[in-house]
């Protein structure tokens, strides 16, 4: 078994109800170096927050807090 302990959702454990699209640094933690959104299986994010996270990242991309892609 690679994943011995089940990861907990970052947003559930920190009790952040709303994922802020203005916090680019935080969002970057859930993205690969190529700026792709990580799947929840990698980050342990729960389904509810993964949906919110994806929306926040897409907003942040539009406002250039987070890149669409990196070369």
């Amino acid at each position: 078994m690679l994943q011995q302990e089940q990861k907990q959702c970052y947003f559930c454990t920190t009790n952040r109800d709303v994922i802020d699209y203005k916090d680019g640094e935080m969002l970057r933690k859930f993205m690969s170096s190529q700026a792709k959104i990580y799947p929840p299986r990698k980050t342990g994010t729960c389904a509810h927050h993964q949906r919110q996270l994806a929306r926040a990242i897409k907003r942040a991309r539009f406002l250039a807090f987070v890149p669409y892609t990196t070369r």
């Binding site: 907990q8 009790n15 109800d17 699209y21 680019g24 250039a64 669409y68």
Partner: protein
Amino acid sequence: METDSKNYEFPYLLPPSIPESEVLMYSRKLSKIIEDTGGKIRHTEEPKKGKLAYEIKKERNAYFGWTTFAMAPNAIALLEKKLKGENLLRFLIVGEEETQVRPQILRTIPSRPAPTHIPAHRPEGPEKPEEKLDLEALDKKLEEILGK
């Protein structure tokens, strides 16, 4: 009218060509546009200079500011039209989610159930003889089979 207004958030990027002293003036101008369209300003964050993740209109930096306001949903389209005429790099109007700041309570991590195989390893008085008996019985059976 008042009752069916919704809360919105309006983040925007101002071009860096604006001198720092005039940035506040711009944000006030935007607030005035919102008010003129029938919005009610709730909170204004003054624009701050920041780096962009990628170039927008050949700019690498921009002033980022945001405003929250309440407005009737049917006036949003008009506001967007008005804002498009402004000197903005980018802007977004999004419905504001309810921000309930709960106190930080760390959830207790459900600890994995204590390993159950350890007690099984512990030598227990009543269990051992049974095993031995079983083994002996097995041996007897085997011998019987082999003997035949």
